[in-house]
């Protein structure tokens, strides 16, 4: 079970990143829990300064941009393998 957190409050790319995560997870039948974090205090606690941020199993993987679908799939698969 992966824990995916999308950090960001309301920006277009933040919404898109969450959508993309759900898409990849369903398409690859990955067991995952996806959370959207919108509170700035919580966002800052991960140390990023650019939204959207992507946290997989508590680790900051990415921030500031929307990754491509293949990159995101790659990250999720990696995280699954390392579990």
């Amino acid at each position: 079970m992966l824990n995916i957190k999308v950090l960001g409050s309301g920006c277009a790319n933040c919404v898109n990143l969450e959508k993309l995560c759900r898409e990849v997870v369903t398409e690859n039948t990955i067991e995952a829990e996806i959370e959207k974090i919108t509170d700035y205090k919580d966002i800052m606690s991960y140390g990023i300064m650019n939204t959207p941020g992507l946290i997989i199993n508590g680790k900051v993987v990415h921030s500031g941009k929307l990754p491509t679908k293949s990159t995101l799939t790659h990250w999720l698969m990696n995280a699954l393998a390392n579990q």
């Binding site: 409050s9 309301g10 205090k41 800052m44 140390g47 300064m49 650019n50 939204t51 500031g64």
Partner: protein, 363 residues
């Protein structure tokens, strides 16, 4: 043959899919592609006037010197010109920006005292990737790591005001002098506004929770990004920015073309000319609530300049449209008290008005 080809090229530039179809994200192949494409770009750019003449007078066969021909010529010439420039500059800026992450910028500003800090923050504002949607985490990150409030503001003023889209449009439509003028006066406004805000010691108007934020230490390795990946960043920037603003540019130039062809000379002199002393503050008042159309507004304003509006007024209008935006101030409300937002907008607006009058005086 020649006509056919130029027609095809123009159609390709208009076609958004052309940009999307480029082989993005291929690293070194991407560099090779860019190098191969550059001569084509240069050839097209340098011959644009001839191609436009060919199209307008030989192909569609419009009569010269009519209102309609003037307007159509303006549109057919300016749209590909601006889009060509935009693509090239955004590509280069995309590569440059890959060297400046907000994290690195923050580190550079950390120990800086006032003024030296304001100067470097304004300069870094130009090259650090910035989107107003990230203004809050950026603000929090800066303040939390001890960057002084005034220095943070210098950054927040320069970053949106001096951006590549505005500079490309100014360069393409007004010439390099105006672009340079815009950039240097924008920098001065960012430096001095930030400096004044710092001097006024307004920390009490920052929401208290801001100072309680404990930013986590980011463990992301400061990996060395290979240059091929920076090329990819350039392509990504082109894809992202050009696909977002091209429509505004086309619409803006279309309106500008209409003004160019149909509005009589000196029409704007009374309204936005030098003699109308109130035009500068009025332009700023009008400009603050407008934002997203910055790409579309510059071509319109350029056409107005031709019809007798004065440069200072036009410059003030553009700065307030691009630099001060309602959505951004609303976002900032989450971290700043209303008083500080008013002081911030007020100081920057006064700076812009001074610049406007100054240029009306000089030119």
């Amino acid at each position: 043959m020649e006509k056919e080809r130029s027609k095809l090229i123009i159609r390709k530039i208009f076609n958004r899919n052309f940009i999307k179809a480029l082989p993005f994200g291929k690293g070194w192949d991407g560099l090779l592609f860019a190098v191969l494409l550059f001569p084509v770009w240069l050839l097209l750019y340098l011959n644009l006037e001839r191609i436009t003449d060919l199209l307008i007078f030989s192909l569609i066969d419009l009569t010269p010197k009519t209102h309609l021909t003037d307007a159509v010529w303006f549109f057919v010439f300016e749209v590909p010109k601006v889009l060509l420039l935009l693509t090239l500059i955004v590509f280069i800026v995309g590569i440059i920006r890959s060297y400046f992450s907000p994290e690195r910028t923050r580190k550079m500003l950390g120990g800086k005292k006032l003024f030296a800090g304001n100067v470097s923050a304004s300069l870094l504002g130009i090259v650090t990737p910035f989107c107003s949607c990230s203004a809050i985490p950026l603000f929090l990150g800066f303040v939390e790591s001890g960057v002084p409030l005034g220095v943070t503001f210098s950054f927040l003023i320069a970053a949106p005001m001096i951006n590549e889209v505005a500079l490309v449009l100014l360069f393409g439509l007004f010439g390099w002098k105006t672009a340079l003028l815009y950039m240097s006066t924008g920098l001065l406004i960012a430096m001095f506004s930030g400096f004044i805000i710092g001097r006024l010691k307004l920390e009490r108007f920052v929401e208290p929770w801001v100072y309680q934020v404990k930013a986590g230490h980011l463990e992301m390795e400061e990996e060395r990004i290979p240059f091929s990946q920076r090329i990819t960043a350039g392509y990504d920037a082109v894809k992202e920015i050009v696909s977002k603003v091209w429509i505004y540019i086309v619409i803006g130039i279309a309106v500008g073309a209409g003004i160019h062809g149909y509005v009589p000379e000196n029409f704007m002199a009374g309204l936005m000319g030098k003699s109308a002393w109130w035009s500068v503050p009025a332009a700023v008042l009008l400009g603050v609530p407008m934002y997203s159309n910055a790409a579309g507004i510059i071509p319109i304003v350029q056409a107005l300049l031709e019809k007798g509006a004065s440069l200072g007024t036009v410059l003030a209008f553009m700065m307030s449209v691009i630099g001060l935006s309602l959505p951004e101030t609303i976002i900032l409300k989450k971290v700043l008290k209303l008083q500080l937002i008013f002081i911030f907008v007020g100081i920057v607006a006064v700076g812009i008005i001074i610049v406007g009058y100054l240029f009306n005086l000089i030119y």
